[in-house]
Symmetry: C2
Subunit: 224 residues, 2 copies
DNA sequence: GACCAATTGAACTAGTTCGTACATTTAGCA
DNA sequence: TGCTAAATGTACGAACTAGTTCAATTGGTC
């Protein structure tokens, strides 16, 4: 779903000695980030190889260290870019315009789709959790999107309460966790579920059925 | 929650040259497996270091290769032991003796507790999914526990249908996925949720509330 | 057009990591 | 008791890996 950021036409010829190149710092940065993301997502932080990332880049290993300091710096940059992206996704939703039940159904459906369509995001969060989220910890600007997601749910939930379509006593974060867990697991554990149960949660048919089931489950959770 | 399998008293003195030792193949095996599990769970497959595992063992690196062939063989052994364990857990449940709704509530509660009490299991499954479950694939004897879990749910579900306490049209595997997802996520994503939302799903109070909420959600999913 | 800071390239290195070769000890059995 | 196979210890090496050194090129600015 993402372009590879081909870093502008560089070194048109081969890698000869006296070859010349045009400067394009932003392009180089984006190119490195895109490749690095793919590698970290596929092999994890310790499994990814800097030399491998460098080789797949249209630039050299030297540039990785020049722009990102070290391997962890590069990983952190990938992580931050990924979270910035999901923040955008969340901002794109306008639940306030919908009736409570439809708002929750929309949120659940969109969340499910976002996870299913962005396995990279899911896998990176898995990797980060294996590392006890200590890179997320050192990364500023993560705390911003905190309340936005929860507050959005709280607003809809309280509106639903006033209208009598939701039951009282629920915690907005509990609603968020339920939606996230059901959406996340369908991607994160796809491989092991396939091996153990022979059921492919990612197959088109199964995915759609699961999507409907999850929306239904969340609505039932909130029903009076 | 697990003993360290101290591999029988070996080399009572120090590691001197002429020291003697008593043979204990099984003890050595178990000792290596226990240490290896901790390392793989903590650092993943690529992050774990064979030398580090060997150092923490009461035996030497030579033994690891003697018994398990290579790093992947050791990892596979750890994985198989872990799955054998959960199979035992599932067999310990006797849902047939309970009324349908209580049976499901019990299953959900037990599943939640098993995950919460065995983060090692959860983390190892995460690691395995990062690797696309390809080690699970090459490991025989995994397919056995397939139907047991699903069949157990199917039996209870159909009983509930006949008694009119469950609604029709559900897939047993869908029920299983819901219970697993909600239980798994609470452990697997604890670190990132704490960082992003400042909410600790593992804290005693939060854990109990979440447990009750999940059981309730599953029952509502099945209600007519 | 000359000068300096920002960029980039290629080779190199110090330390790590998996795995092995070789020697030795133990346990059980003829 | 002596012999053999299983089990264990020690030391080492080849390959890999993150990060660096040194030098060169570019773009903009005076």
């Amino acid at each position: 779903m993402e372009e590879m950021a081909p870093a502008a036409p560089r070194r048109a010829g081969s890698g000869k000695k006296a070859a010349s190149w045009t400067q394009d710092p932003e392009g180089v940065r984006r190119n490195i980030l895109a490749i690095a993301r793919a590698e970290f997502v596929e092999n994890g932080l310790s499994g990814a190889r800097v030399d491998e990332i460098a080789a797949k880049t249209s630039t050299s290993k030297r540039m990785i260290y020049y722009y990102f300091g070290d391997k962890e710096g590069l990983y952190r940059a990938v992580l931050e870019e990924m979270y910035a992206r999901i923040r955008n996704f969340e901002r794109s939703l306008d639940l306030a315009a919908l009736p409570p039940r439809e708002a929750i159904a929309t949120l659940a459906g969109f969340t499910f789709d976002y996870h299913a369509d962005n396995p990279d995001f899911v896998r990176l969060v898995m990797v980060e959790n294996i590392h006890h989220a200590r890179h997320l910890e050192n990364s500023a600007e993560i705390g911003e999107l905190n309340l936005s997601a929860i507050d959005m749910i709280r607003e809809v939930y309280e509106r639903g309460l006033r209208e009598g379509v939701f039951r009282a006593g629920l915690d907005p974060i509990d609603i968020h966790l339920t939606i996230s867990a059901l959406s996340f697991y369908n991607v994160s554990n796809r491989a092991s579920i396939l091996q153990v149960f022979g059921h492919d949660m990612g197959a088109p048919g199964a995915r759609e059925r699961r999507r409907a089931s999850i929306i239904d489950t969340v609505l039932r959770m909130l029903a009076p």
